[in-house]
């Protein structure tokens, strides 16, 4: 069970109350027409999926509704950082 403290409302929530949103720091091209098919499909589909630390998006869905970032270990599920969405991890 993953328990996170929302960096916006500071409530502790269990994973049932949160929503997982995949890898964080996925950049959308400012002008999608200017990028190649490869760059665009990488943005759409390619994720790093490391065995180890990874940055993820989570949403305080049952609480304040804010999206935030989490650095989590994909094997141990240990949580290193929980940060507001605009923070660069």
């Amino acid at each position: 069970m993953i328990i996170l403290e929302c960096p916006y409302c500071h409530e502790q929530r269990v994973e049932d109350e949160l929503r997982y949103g995949g890898e964080a720091n996925i950049q959308r091209a400012t002008d999608p027409t200017a990028v190649s098919d490869e760059v665009w499909t990488d943005y759409l589909f390619m994720r790093t999926n490391p065995k180890g630390w990874r940055d993820e998006q989570w949403c305080c869905e049952a609480g304040c509704g804010q999206w935030f970032k989490v650095r989590r270990h994909s094997v141990s599920h240990a949580i290193e950082t929980v940060a507001r969405f605009d923070v660069v991890l």
Partner: protein, 967 residues
């Protein structure tokens, strides 16, 4: 055991007596039941082999005063008054099983038999026999009065197992202020204290455990859960516990705990494992530790004349305990030499004959063990000893399954010849048997040390003293895996699945030498006992036969649950009406008053109205006719309503829709679709510009929450500087649509001042103003192809608005259900999201290509429409189908060109279909490869068994010039 409290129960229809505190297994043994089940493959008679979860044999179906369970292990069932138990294997009975004839073919149905059936002569040949033979127990439809609860809890320390080590850890932690949970799967805590001959802190172990248990139970910081199995260990130290709540009639309820712990003390004990010998599966052969427990705790001896067979010292304790209890112990057979056996003289002193450096080579008896034949080293002859029970001990297996759930691989410890967990996470401590402790004082010291390590890590202090144990240790072991003598076809490794030494040898011969392959090829350890007594022997044989060390072979992994958990307790209260909340329309009562037949469409919505016809088809046709020729009233309140406001609202919405919402003027409505970033249609609906910087998006009924979350996520994560606010107001407003040529008249009757003329209020326009005296938002939009107004009022007016509309008897408005509404839109060729689109459909496929190409700026998913998948030739595109004759059916497959008979390739499928009153034909929408270039073509559609010939056409079947829409 409470001998003053007798209980009546029955087994296979025979009335029997037991006592409170008995398990079903001990009560059956006391009633001299030899054969409790049949083995899976050869249907051989099976008696009790273990005493609890480890027993591979005793699968029984149990009916108690509350419920019925189809497959439990007898050792895990606590006897209750009036309990009815049955064997779940054996036909016609467990005593006499015709299926035992399969033994004659045992040579040809060895390891990998299932796999080989695919080769020759084919699976179809074997399937009927195999299907008939598989499965334990049958579900019964009986009243279930068992309650199920779910609870969540958090603690500092979870102690798994309340045997001596678990209780010692709990005692040490008491008074530290740490919140401790102790869970034990037995009805009464104490574990081996209840049956082993030991003294703790100077008093008998049983008395010690009762004292400690009472203290723990009285401590406010401790929660002691008896009859509670920890079934799974998950990440971040979350555990699932299943607590059984019993009374004299049986299991009254179950409570499932989701428990978070900071520290874990694994004190789950260990089980004996058997030794292999010819005929080692006969009823009467039992684990040595099980014999000790049956005698020590339940006062029942599994045999009258008991032999003991061992490669270690613990089985001598069994012999001594049995002897002390008055059982005739006829022999101890030890594979080791006399100078290894530390209790040899003690056993001889009480008159037990001991055979050292000896092996059991054969056995006699079919329905019950009758004799063992043993051979002493250096003697040529077999000595036959008559006995009806053998207690076997081939070493121990710590119960490390829960650690394995966390991904910890147990490692082989050659000195103790057992698998132990060596690299546990920092927050885990394995103590006692679970850590392979073979001496009670060692177990108590490990528990004490674990408690101190937890105290140190949590900056708390402990007051208790270390517990002093006085007990005979389990001594040393000398591994003995594969006997030199005896027929390997007659040596059972897995008693439940009938895996024999010969099967493992065959698997090795066929090169299935990885443990995971061996397991699946032979089904070793795949039974309901999860190989608790068979895995290690199997691995050791694999190692011996493939010539490598056991440590190299490794162990298979365990996954939750630790022992069988009922689906009912997992579901908890979430069944029937409580499965999920029902969503009702605000005017639900008015619909019911008009005879609505309500179905679950995500919302409880009228499908059709009994007031419109005696049966569904008649009513639906009447409803369709009223919309086409008069006026119909449809409740569309479930449609999503999301208000988007703010200076950037127009630009914000424009990023989501294929059509440019930035150009939408106040008072105007626009229909469009919304894409996912990969170009696939996510939702469709209209957007209304209520006023400057104030928009109302109407997603489909099922998507209101998802679209709100979608807007909100993009706002927060991609465009955080957009000045917009998003609010889901779906349930604040009720929407009633009135559709048909007389819709305008109906609107004016209700609100005479409403400027509803075609010039004042055109199609795709929006007006605000009172309707029926109530503030309303009215949109002139159409899903039916007729003149249609959608009147939205605050939800509390839904019922009165609906009633007022239906009360205009002069216009004879009919209430319209979902079925008629969807058929009307099908005639008009409007898509129904999720029916006429799938997870691949793009706007280009549904005829919106020109809108996409007109858009100059970006919107979500636009770039993906240039990818090769979106523009490839063979895409399935939306078309209309008109049947030449016959009835089209949703899901009908369209045969590939040139084919008129199935089986053949197909090129698409019917997504919606109905009988069209307007066309007097069966029509449908379909996704068809190259569809947009196939107008006028004839295709063949396979609907069930019928082949329907159809024309491909434009999807707009009804009023293609939109004259009625603009009326």
């Amino acid at each position: 055991m409470d001998r003053s409290h007798p209980l009546d129960f029955s087994f296979n229809g025979v009335a029997m007596k037991g006592y409170a505190g008995d398990t079903l297994a001990s009560a059956l043994l006391a009633n001299s039941v030899n054969i409790v089940a049949r083995s899976f493959k050869y249907r051989r008679p099976r008696g009790f082999f273990g005493v609890g979860a480890e027993d591979p044999n005793s699968a029984v179906a149990v009916q108690d005063g509350y419920s019925y369970e189809p497959a439990l292990r007898a050792g895990q069932v606590w006897l209750a008054q009036g309990m009815k138990a049955r064997s779940v294997s054996g036909w016609p009975s467990v005593e006499f099983d015709l299926g035992a004839v399969t033994q004659l073919f045992s040579r040809v149905i060895g390891a990998g038999f299932y796999y080989k059936t695919f080769k020759w002569p084919g699976w179809e040949f074997f399937e009927p026999f195999i299907r008939k033979a598989t499965g334990f127990g049958a579900p019964l439809k009986v009243a279930n009065d068992r309650t199920v609860q779910q609870r969540h809890a958090v603690c500092d320390v979870l102690i798994i197992g309340a045997g001596p080590a678990g209780l010692a850890a709990a005692t040490a932690l008491r008074g530290s202020g740490l919140k401790v949970f102790v869970a034990d799967d037995q009805k009464e805590p104490g574990g081996s204290c209840r049956w082993e001959c030991a003294r703790l802190d100077g008093i008998p172990a049983a008395a010690w455990s009762r004292q400690i248990t009472a203290k723990i139970a009285a401590d406010a910081d401790c929660t002691l859960l008896a009859a509670t199995t920890v079934t799974g260990a998950y990440e971040n130290e979350m555990f699932i516990l299943v607590q059984t709540i019993m009374d004299e009639r049986g299991v009254r309820g179950e409570r499932v705990w989701k428990l978070m712990a900071r520290y874990v003390v694994l004190a789950s004990g260990m089980v004996d494992r058997p030794l292999l010998f010819e005929g080692n599966d006969r009823p009467g052969v039992m684990l040595s530790s099980a014999v000790r427990r049956f005698i020590g705790e339940f006062g029942v001896s599994p045999a009258r004349r008991l032999a003991v067979y061992t490669n270690n010292d613990s089985a001598y304790l069994t012999a001594l305990q049995a002897k002390a209890a008055g059982v005739d112990v006829v022999a101890i057979v030890d594979t080791r030499s006399a100078n290894s056996a530390i209790y040899l003289n003690e056993a001889r002193a009480v008159g037990i004959t001991c055979y050292c450096e000896s092996q059991i080579e054969s056995t006699r008896g079919y329905r019950r063990l009758e004799a063992i034949g043993l051979r002493q080293a250096a003697t040529p002859n077999i000595v036959w000893i008559f006995c009806d029970g053998v207690a076997v001990s081939g070493g121990w297996t710590p119960a490390t399954q829960l650690a394995a759930h966390r991904g910890i691989k147990p490692q082989y410890d050659a000195e103790r010849s057992m698998f132990v967990c060596k690299d546990l996470p920092e927050s885990w401590f394995a103590v006692g048997g679970a850590n392979g402790a073979l001496d009670l004082q060692v177990a108590m010291d490990q528990a004490h040390a674990a408690a101190h390590a937890i105290a140190e890590a949590t900056f708390t202090t402990l007051n208790g003293q270390r517990c002093i144990a006085s007990a005979r240790g389990f001594g040393a072991i000398q591994p003995f895996w594969l006997p030199a003598q005896g027929n390997p076809h007659r040596m059972w490794v897995d008693l439940q699945n009938d895996v024999k030494v010969s099967d493992i040898a065959l698997a090795v011969q066929e090169n299935y030498v990885s443990v995971e392959h061996l397991k699946r090829y032979t089904t070793l350890g795949m039974g309901t006992d999860q190989g608790r007594t068979s895995n290690v022997n199997g691995l050791a044989l694999l190692a011996a036969l493939s010539g490598c060390a056991i440590s190299e072979v490794g162990a298979t992994s365990f996954r939750p649950p630790y022992t069988a958990t009922s689906m009912r307790s997992i579901a908890g209260a979430r069944s029937g009406d409580l499965y999920r909340p029902r969503r009702y329309l605000p005017a639900h009562g008015v619909h019911l008053a008009h005879g609505a037949v309500v179905l679950d469409f995500g919302w409880e919505r009228p499908d059709w109205y009994r007031s419109n016809g005696a049966d569904r088809e008649t009513a639906v046709r009447a409803e369709m006719a009223s919309v086409r020729h008069g006026v119909g009233v449809f409740d569309s309140s479930s449609l999503g309503k999301i208000e988007v406001t703010g200076p950037d609202a127009a630009a914000f919405l424009a990023r989501f829709y294929v059509s440019n919402m930035a150009t939408l003027k106040p008072g105007r409505v626009r229909y469009s679709v919304m894409l996912r970033e990969d170009g696939v249609i996510f939702d469709d609906g209209v957007v209304t510009c209520l006023a400057e910087n104030h928009y109302l998006a109407s997603p489909t009924s099922g998507n209101a929450e998802a679209v709100t979350a979608w807007f909100e996520r993009w706002r927060q994560t991609e465009w955080p500087h957009s000045r917009v606010a998003i609010a889901n107001v779906t349930s604040n407003w009720a929407s009633i649509a009135i559709a048909g040529p007389k819709a305008r008249e109906l609107l004016i009757r209700l609100e005479p001042g409403f400027e509803a003329s075609g010039e004042a209020f055109a199609h795709m326009e929006f007006r605000e103003g009172p309707v029926g005296g109530v503030p309303a938002r009215v949109a002139r939009i159409s899903f039916t192809g007729e003149l249609q107004y959608e009147i939205s009022v605050p939800a509390r007016y839904a019922g009165s608005l609906l009633q007022s509309l239906l009360a205009e008897a002069a216009l004879a408005p009919l209430p319209i259900g979902m079925e008629a509404w969807l058929r009307l839109r099908l005639e008009k060729g409007y898509i129904h999201l999720g029916s006429d689109t799938n997870g691949r459909t793009t706007p280009l496929d549904v005829g919106m290509g020109s809108i996409v190409s007109k858009r100059k700026d970006d919107f979500i998913g636009k770039r993906s429409l240039q990818l090769s998948f979106a523009i490839e030739e063979r895409r399935e595109q939306l078309v209309g189908l008109i049947a030449k004759r016959g009835m089209l059916e949703t899901g009908g497959r369209i045969l590939a060109r040139g084919h008129v008979r199935s089986p053949c390739p197909t090129e698409g499928y019917v997504t919606s279909a109905c009988e069209s009153p307007a066309l007097e034909r069966s029509i449908g929408l379909a996704l068809l490869e190259h569809g947009h270039q196939r107008n006028g073509e004839t295709v063949h559609v396979l609907c069930g068994k019928n082949l329907i010939e159809c024309f491909v056409c434009d999807p707009t079947f009804y009023d293609p010039k939109n004259e009625r829409l603009h009326a």
